[in-house]
């Protein structure tokens, strides 16, 4: 279009990446997941799933409290911490003895998280992006290629060696595809296990689906851990991939075209 008039400045090629609704739900999820996790850990504190026999001097039975005590004993700078068993809870949750505010924050975030899930699905459908998330038969092998590349990256960096990332003729590489396909499923399962714990009587069939009330709590807990293990490499990779990738989740487009090599991270 801009090539018609000779005097126009050089063109920029914009490749559409993310629908507006996908971008909105992505960033809203940052806040909502943070709210769900910090309140969820405060709720966990009230009755930890993983407990051992109470320690004789303190009566403590919670592994998270043990971890806090260990950190305060071994990490320089934390030696003077006033309440070591609370260290993890004070830094990764609303804090101990916060059950009531944690519950209301958890419900608030959870209802918005469910709505946001619908916004995300709507965005995927309107933009046709859902097609790019579907796993392919070759993705298992492709994902391994990517994992190998990522694992080698720090060593290549140390040896100042440039490496060519594996290329794929698709919007996402196979590892991304597997991650972006499974994370929404994990989100759905979090919501379902959440309801199973929240209404174990009226929705007892739902709790039974996950092996009963107590097992549904374990599912819910490990799904949270899965989100955390997704988010950490996701954030590291998106920033190491570069500005174009970060920007595309804000503007919706990328300036990298296929022939230049597409983004392969987050």
């Amino acid at each position: 279009m801009c090539g018609v008039i000779v005097s126009t400045p050089p063109c920029v090629r914009l490749v559409r990446k993310h629908h507006l609704l996908v971008r909105v739900s992505h960033w809203l999820n940052v806040l909502l997941l943070a709210g769900l996790i910090v309140s969820g850990i405060s709720i966990y504190w009230a009755s930890p799933i993983y407990q051992h026999g109470p320690d004789p001097p303190t009566g403590n039975a919670d592994y998270f409290a043990d971890a806090g005590v260990w950190l305060c004993a071994h990490v320089p700078g934390l030696h003077g911490y006033a309440s070591p068993p609370d260290w993890l809870y004070n830094h990764f949750s609303l804090g101990p003895y916060m059950l009531a505010p944690a519950i209301s924050l958890h419900w608030f975030s959870a209802y918005l998280f469910m709505l946001n899930g619908l916004v995300y699905v709507a965005g995927l459908c309107l933009g046709g992006e859902w097609r790019s998330l579907l796993p392919r038969a070759s993705d298992g092998r492709g994902a391994l290629v990517m994992v190998k590349y990522y694992l080698g990256a720090p060593f290549a960096l140390l040896r100042c060696r440039k490496r060519v990332p594996p290329r794929f003729n698709s919007k996402y590489n196979p590892l991304q595809r597997l991650a972006y396909f499974s994370i929404p499923i994990a989100g759905f399962l979090s919501v379902v296990t959440g309801w199973a714990i929240h209404k174990p009587m009226q929705l007892s069939w739902l709790a039974a689906l996950f092996g009963g009330f107590d097992k549904a709590r374990v599912w819910h807990f490990w799904l949270m851990c899965l989100f955390i293990t997704f988010v950490v490499p996701h954030v590291i990779l998106v920033f190491s991939d570069g500005w174009d990738t970060v920007r595309s989740m804000i503007t919706g487009w990328s300036t990298r075209s296929e022939s230049e090599g597409q983004s392969h991270e987050p």
Partner: protein, 293 residues
């Protein structure tokens, strides 16, 4: 921004691992490319970042105002206002959802004796001296007769049919216990001593509790009469086939398996039927009010 007509002629990227490609059942569409002037791209970027920045600042601000004051203090944000409005309404909304899910005809799961688990007394106050039990009486108020009724435990055991039930008690903290209870149906008491016709709530009180310092710590809950009339809502007199111990609410406690454990009030001394929702011990402490599970 118009889609680029030439995009079909673009040479596909040379894949270093072509053997790995397989388009799948629903192949993704080719890239949608538009060519714009740098000025258009700049303006589009500026607009998107302004919108993103504004929403991010607003979102973070609202999020921070939802944190409890002690958490804000730990974050060094003492100056930031705390607002309970959104969270209160979330709790309220969730109570409506719970009320919507409730059905008088849906029975809660029951268990066998082999599935019974240890029952915990979660009250961190002082267990009261059992001396109150011989003098214990239950007062009923708000009755259609206009008079208050006063019953002792012998009347209860003699007048009402005792039912057994093994149900799960679910604590708001996340633990639960499967326990065997025996007692009369709350519905039977409501039939024998009908409340005033406009009554929608039971206000249930226990006055024997003591806080950790041994001071009186009266406990009270609100129960909607719909839940009270549920066939599995018991006024329990026995646990594991034995009369209730003081720790578990002797001589009469509420067992409402469709409610959180905190509504299952122990050592009931008074039930008042009222039209408007009465106060509730834990609702006053920022927990929800209906507590249906």
């Amino acid at each position: 921004m118009s889609p680029d007509e030439n995009s079909a002629q673009l040479k596909p990227a040379e894949a270093s691992t072509p053997a790995l490609e397989s388009p799948g059942l629903f192949p993704e569409r080719g890239p949608q490319i538009s060519k714009v002037t740098p000025e258009v791209a700049r303006r589009s970027t500026r607009r998107a970042f302004l919108a993103f920045g504004t929403s991010a600042v607003a979102g973070l601000g609202v999020a921070a105002s939802q944190l409890p004051p002690s958490t804000l203090e730990r974050l060094g944000l003492t100056f930031w206002p705390h607002n309970q409005w959104l969270l209160n309404n979330a709790l309220r909304f969730d109570d409506y959802v719970a009320e919507f899910l409730y059905s008088p005809n849906r029975l809660m799961p029951t268990y066998t004796k082999s599935q019974i688990t240890a029952l915990r007394n979660n009250y961190n106050g002082v267990t009261p001296d059992s001396g109150y039990i011989p003098m214990w009486r239950l007062t009923l108020d708000g009755l259609s007769s206009g008079l208050a009724a006063s019953l002792d435990i012998r009347t209860f055991l003699a007048r009402f049919q005792i039912h057994d039930q093994i149900t799960r008690l679910v604590c708001v903290e996340g633990w639960s216990a499967i326990a065997w209870w025996s007692g009369l149906k709350f519905a039977d008491l409501l039939q024998a001593y009908p409340p005033v016709p406009q009554a929608k709530w039971a206000f249930i009180e226990s006055s024997v509790n003591l806080d950790p310092n041994g001071k009186p710590d009266p406990y009270y809950v609100s129960i909607d009469l719909l839940s009270a009339r549920h066939p599995q809502t018991l006024l329990a007199t026995h646990h594991n086939g034995q009369p209730l111990t003081v720790e578990h609410g002797a001589p009469l406690r509420l067992i409402a398996p469709m409610k959180l454990g905190l509504k299952n009030i122990k050592a009931i001394t008074r039930i008042t039927y009222v039209k408007d929702e009465p106060k509730d011990y834990w609702a006053k402490r920022d927990y929800s009010r209906y507590d249906g599970i």
